[in-house]
Assembly symmetry: C2
Homo-oligomer: 342 residues x 2
């Protein structure tokens, strides 16, 4: 098997004694090419194993049909659900997807933004890294009017289009529910509050305490990087407290599961001694014993919505106003927080 020549429209043109223009138009199903000729072109192209050259095409047409996607990480239940949603929509509209993960680092995010720019993506979907504070690295996109939409993790304000859930309300409902169950000392483990998804949930939690007449204790809020190790550390600190909390709201199901198990191993009963609510409705939440109460996060839907919005914006003739699309989330009550009684 020898190296096979890469076929171009020029090769087809020569073989059929036609001009490259006609071949090009024929392959595009252009109306100005005779049906018989077209058929001949298609057949010959297949026969010779022709594949179009994306670069030549993109170079000329100044459009790449590629959407860049930058997410904090790939190995997250929520993120992969979202990617599946994005992919479904994009693929259905003939777009490709260039994915990369920032690993929660602004530095890598910036690097990838540049790569995306070089690859001349037609649009960009971003979920910001944990420590991203500035959007400077996205300036080129703004300058060149390349649509940039935020999915889930955006930045405060109405300047940009983003698809989110009402994190304040979700946090509020989680904490309110725990309070309803009789919890009076509710601890909260959250991610980096630079990201408003986390700060808003915390604010919601705080408001719920207030509305239920519970005092807010700063020392019960733990800001972490939501890894297994830091969760363990937090749990150890909690277990050493003089008065243990009787409720725990964790901004992530995996960490909630780790916490749940640690507390059980320390001899505490869930939910009798400590009731727990997680976040995301990961597969993990159904594995724990007792099953974990959590907030359902419509990952796939979020991906579909943001992708569809982007496609619309690309097809629109006039520039569209930035808007914030808020999806529904809901508290799912399972055994880890259900104490019985009303």
């Amino acid at each position: 098997m020898s190296q096979e020549k890469i076929i171009t429209i020029y090769d087809i043109a020569e073989k059929l004694s036609l001009s490259p223009s006609t071949i090009s138009r024929g392959l595009q199903n252009h109306a100005a090419v005779n049906a018989v000729t077209k058929k001949k072109i298609f057949d010959t192209a297949n026969e010779m194993g022709y594949r179009f050259n994306t670069f030549a095409r993109n170079l000329r047409s100044r459009k790449t049909n590629t959407i860049g996607v930058i997410v904090p990480r790939l190995n997250s239940y929520f993120i992969s659900a979202m990617l599946a949603g994005i992919e479904k929509e994009l693929n259905g509209s003939g777009y490709n997807m260039l994915i990369s993960q920032s690993l929660e680092l602004q530095e890598k995010e910036a690097e990838y933004a540049e790569t995306m720019m070089h690859n001349r993506v037609d649009g960009l979907i971003v979920a910001l890294a944990a420590n991203t504070t500035s959007l400077d690295h996205f300036q080129p996109f703004f300058k060149h009017h390349i649509p940039l939409l935020f999915a889930d993790r955006g930045i405060a304000g109405n300047e940009y289009t983003k698809v989110v859930i009402d994190n304040f309300r979700a946090g509020y409902e989680a904490a309110f529910h725990l309070a309803e169950q009789g919890c009076t000392r509710i601890a909260h483990i959250t991610g980096n509050t630079i990201r408003d998804v986390y700060s808003e949930r915390r604010d919601g939690y705080q408001q719920a305490l207030k509305d239920k007449g519970l005092s807010f204790d700063e020392s019960l809020v733990f800001e972490t990087d939501l890894t297994e190790i830091s969760t363990m550390k937090v749990m150890n600190r909690i277990l050493k407290m003089e008065v243990l909390p009787d409720g725990l709201f964790v901004s992530n199901d995996f960490c909630a599961a780790i916490g749940l198990k640690t507390l059980k191993q320390a001899g505490l009963r869930i939910p009798e001694d400590i009731a727990i609510v997680g976040f995301n409705n990961d597969a993990t939440s159904r594995i724990t014993e007792p099953a974990l109460s959590t907030v359902n996060y419509p990952g796939q839907e979020m991906g579909e919505v943001v992708a569809r919005r982007l496609i619309n914006q690309l097809n629109a003739s006039n520039p569209s106003e930035p808007e914030t699309l808020v999806l529904k989330s809901e508290l799912i009550v399972r055994s880890s927080s259900l104490k019985g009684g009303v």
Copy 2:
């Protein structure tokens, strides 16, 4: 903020009264360009906001510095660990990564292979979909001598380069361990045995039974698609058996966790009544109670190895022989299978 002009080397050339060739060479740090001129070029490029056009560059240089990666799905602990490994190596060597997920369907896999071809990837890394039986859709890669390496899920034979673990041995060890623990009726839940990762584990399991003098009971082997639903179905069938199994080897940690929980809820003790071993060493395996014995799968390492091998192959002057790289895996014994006693 108005639409900013896209700067090309021609714009820089004009501004500096130099020729585009010199700009091009200067930006490439070519030796034949005066250091002073070079500096001037770089400064002006920055100042004007120049970004190179990947397409023009790729079109001319006939090299894309992009590697395609096709995996069955993104939302798997193992796969994302592997992707992280691949990304680390590729990025360190200046390559980009075009990812797509086949969703376990040969049809989608073929479609993406074509897209990768159009995007002229320099090489391809593939973990085959569950139902892929033919490699016809990769023919263009073979014909054009574009390296195609398999990661984890390849195809039998020595025709292609692949990075794998010894699945037969892993399956053998898992089943052997269960037998050692005193299990005599060991059930096995596996994925689509078209994929040799699954068939080899099953073969290893079978061989271990044989070596331990246990009879092989076909009705204890369940081939599934390894989803939550089918696992539940299998568990229900198992629970209805006249004689229950006393050991369970599942080719996937999440399904093992589902199984574990279902059995416990049915009143069975783990590991006393049924000992369980999973596969992959997912995060999930540490969440279950008791913690799940499993086979550690070096996902990140596998990604690094396959990417490094691909890069070497791309840099090599002469074509490299196909080879099979086997990584170490190991049984991790936790409480779900440890009955005590020797």
